[in-house]
């Protein structure tokens, strides 16, 4: 009898129980009481499935057909549904990735927390309420009385995630499984949640199985780390050990792909002509309505920027700060409320859609979500040539060009007649880039173009963009909330908050030596900023901190 809390041994999970279609291939793992174990690995490597298998919540089609999962010696895979129900919330509980959808939208959050007590304790109604409120306070929710009666949609993402945590911990389980609990949150909120989990673990002695693909987060929270790849364990090591001495090539590659928070050298020439600029751009949403006006949102206020030929301007800021709004105004996908948008020497801010059509070939956009920005029903070739056809390029020529472009972005030319779902996320994002390039634009707007991608894939796409920029002299407007990414690609950075520009300047200066409080807060919240993953050591040891000025600044 070991002293492990959770033991997973040779866990094999297969689609429909068919050993040919295994998605988890003989996983072993042990978690001791009070230990924090991080599960890392690229998307699809089986992290979530392992967690779900432990909870007994696997989708029906996925069958654990071999191995065992033991909780304090008790086999879970063969436990009855009743027994599992009993164990959930009391012995083990789970927090899910999406705080938006993991809560029942039509029930008050207080009731959702209390529900746990209803089934796992014999407290009275009022006791339950008191306990729930205590727990809500314990996760540092403000104004608990009001929160208690709120519906999920009335809370922010961070608050919702706290509710989830309160719900998971209210019965003081011995094991907390957190499946990417912060991925959907912006950096500041993420930092708060991570420290909350740390704090609760220390107070309650809960063991944590923490799932993430973000090495930064790992470096902040893990004691031990298990690296997964395609359903197999690559290695398990204590955190420091892993970061300094990764045992496998896979782990090494993974660590090398993590974008550094040290800004890259800016492109040398800063006297190039301005290809895109805005003056006092404002966008106000809402305010319309037949009798009763809807609420107004000032999504962008007084935004002025200038993008030079062949250079990259980054826009960073937390979620909802108005980054996309600026991008969409510039693309004239929405109509700006006021201000100017100069493309070349023409103001397109109030231009009629008909006249815009011809101007569109100068400026193209790459959207955040590569799957949704490609029509799933059309071959990707069709998507790529749509623009050229609109601008009068003969079809045969357009297709020829599409093939070239695919090769340019590193895909086989023969891929033109495949459908989007037949590609991986990174490949799709390359297709989206190829599409944007198809009309030979001067300006490329990339709105969170790499946020949805794995670090390794992300790195490839960023390299691609940099290369293209060098070859074609594109001006890139790059929108991201990831400061590491911004540091890697931008020549200049603009920080936004609540629709306003807070700070604007050369990337090295803004990220290395921020002047505004907000920028500082943003930078200090970024997880893993102390660690130089690519060189397997902390920055402190490499002799310069992430916050110090880059050499070329």
């Amino acid at each position: 009898m070991s002293d492990n809390l959770l033991e997973i041994e040779n866990l094999r999970i297969a689609l429909n129980g068919d050993p040919e279609q295994e998605v988890v291939k003989g996983l072993d793992m042990e978690i001791k009481p009070g230990q924090t174990m991080c599960l890392v690995g690229e998307s699809g490597s089986g992290k979530s499935l392992t967690a779900l298998a432990t909870m007994g919540l696997l989708p029906k089609v996925l069958v654990p057909h071999a191995g065992s999962i033991r909780m304090k010696g008790e086999e879970l895979l063969t436990a009855t549904p009743q027994r599992l129900r009993k164990l959930r919330a009391t012995a083990m509980s789970m927090i899910f990735q999406e705080p938006m959808t993991a809560l029942n939208p039509v029930a008050r959050v207080g009731a959702q927390i209390e529900e746990v007590l209803e089934f796992h304790s014999d407290m009275s109604q009022s006791q339950r309420k008191r306990r729930a409120m205590e727990m809500m306070e314990a996760v540092h929710l403000p104004d608990v009385d009001k929160m208690y009666r709120s519906f999920p949609h009335q809370l922010s993402g961070g608050q919702r995630q706290r509710i989830m945590i309160a719900m998971a911990l209210i019965m003081r389980p011995q094991l907390l499984i957190a499946d990417e609990p912060t991925t959907a949150l912006d950096v500041t909120t993420q930092a708060q949640i991570l420290s909350l989990i740390r704090e609760l673990r220390e107070e309650q002695g809960t063991a944590v199985m923490f799932i993430t693909h973000d090495m930064g987060v790992v470096s902040e929270i893990a004691e031990d780390v298990t690296v997964l790849k395609l359903g197999e364990v690559m290695e398990t090591q204590p955190l420091d050990q892993l970061l300094r001495h990764p045992q496998t090539d896979y782990t090494r590659d993974l660590l090398r792909s993590v974008p550094s928070h040290v800004p890259r050298a800016a492109s040398p020439d800063s006297s190039e002509k301005v290809v895109l600029s805005t003056q006092s751009l404002c966008k106000t949403y809402g305010g319309s309505g037949f009798i009763f006006k809807s609420r107004e949102v000032n999504a962008a206020q007084d935004v002025s920027l200038a993008l030079q030929h062949g250079r990259t301007l980054g826009i960073v800021g937390e979620s909802g700060s108005g980054k996309s709004t600026v991008a969409r105004c510039i693309m004239r996908l929405i109509d700006p409320t006021s201000g100017q948008i100069m493309v070349g020497d023409e103001d397109i801010a109030q231009m009629h859609q008909r006249d815009l059509k011809a101007r569109r070939r100068k400026i193209q956009i790459v959207f955040q979500d590569p799957m949704r920005s490609l029509n799933p029903r059309r071959e990707i070739g069709e998507s790529i040539i749509e623009g050229p056809l609109n601008f009068g390029v003969p079809r045969a020529k357009a297709v020829e060009r599409a093939r070239e472009l695919l090769e340019l972005v590193g895909l086989p030319a023969s891929a033109v007649d495949r459908f989007p779902h037949q590609f991986s996320g990174g490949q799709r994002q390359r297709i989206a880039i190829a599409r944007a390039l198809a009309v030979d634009p001067d300006i490329l707007v990339a709105d969170e173009a790499v946020s949805a991608l794995d670090v390794s894939v992300q790195a490839q796409v960023l390299d691609l963009l940099a290369e293209l920029q060098k070859r074609l002299g594109l001006g890139i407007l790059f929108i991201t909330h990831d400061l590491g990414v911004a540091a890697q690609i931008c020549d200049e950075v603009m920080v936004m908050q609540h629709g306003r520009v807070v700070e604007y300047g050369p990337a090295g200066r803004v990220l290395g030596d921020p002047r505004e409080e907000y920028t500082k807060a943003l930078i200090s919240a970024a997880p893993g900023r102390h660690w130089d993953f690519a060189n397997f050591r902390p920055f402190s040891e490499s002799g310069r901190a992430a916050t110090s000025a880059p050499p070329s600044a």
Binding site: L333, N375, R377, F423
Partner: protein, 296 residues
Amino acid sequence: MTDQTVFTPGDGRVSPLDRVREIVFSSPFVFIASLILAIIVLSALFAPWVVPHDPVRLTPAQRLKPPSEIYWLGTDAYGRDLFSRIIYGGRISLVVGLGAAVFAVASGLMLGLLAGYIRWLDAILMRMVDGLMAIPNILLAIAIVSLWGAGIWTVLIAITIPEVPRVVRLVRSVVLSAREEPYVEAAIAAGSSTWLIMRRHLLPNTIAPLIIQGTYICASAILVEAILSFLGAGINPETPSWGNIMAEGRIYFQINPGIVLWPGIVVSVAILAINLLGDAVRDALDPRMAKRGIDR
């Protein structure tokens, strides 16, 4: 979104024929439904070669005969062969069903696309659509038929008109949500015109829901035709349709229930088959249904 998606080599297209085959063989229910439907459609199509008797020829001396070797299902009140009438009746009923589905879907599709994409038109069209929807459909149909005279065209129109608003609303809602999709924005950014966007990006999205709506309309039109006949506002009773065979036969329910029950069974089976097929197509076209395993 998984990035692990395997890069499937080879041709990604599925030919329409394969698609049909896939749907038909997706479950034994669907297979049987397709088979039955095929039999009904073919026998209606080739009715003149299938039926043993002239379906309109009156032979008063043979009225209300029970099933026999000559008259397989017996005869109706005019001495016409019930079996032959049911086979021929399929022609009208299927034409009404298909016609209503095609007309309703076609006109609803046009109006819905317009409403969904052209803001100012939307308000006007939607008021009219709301108004049409508010008028009770059977009453509207009865009014149209009895006012304009009963013929296959009027019955078709009467059945179609009340269905159009539903299609318009459906298409409009699909368009409204599709036009928020990034790929539509991407098309705008690529300089595509409104019409091109509708044709390339919005129209294909409406197809799956329209097929389901279409099968529903088809089935309900066959029933409404029967109801109109029942209420005395159906197709000219000389021409057999499943509806008017039943309607004419109902007073003989005690004497020869087969006149109502046989066509009733055929109608039910046909509609059942159409519905099952519609569901199967829906499942095939809506990947979410097929892919998503339900957690237990």
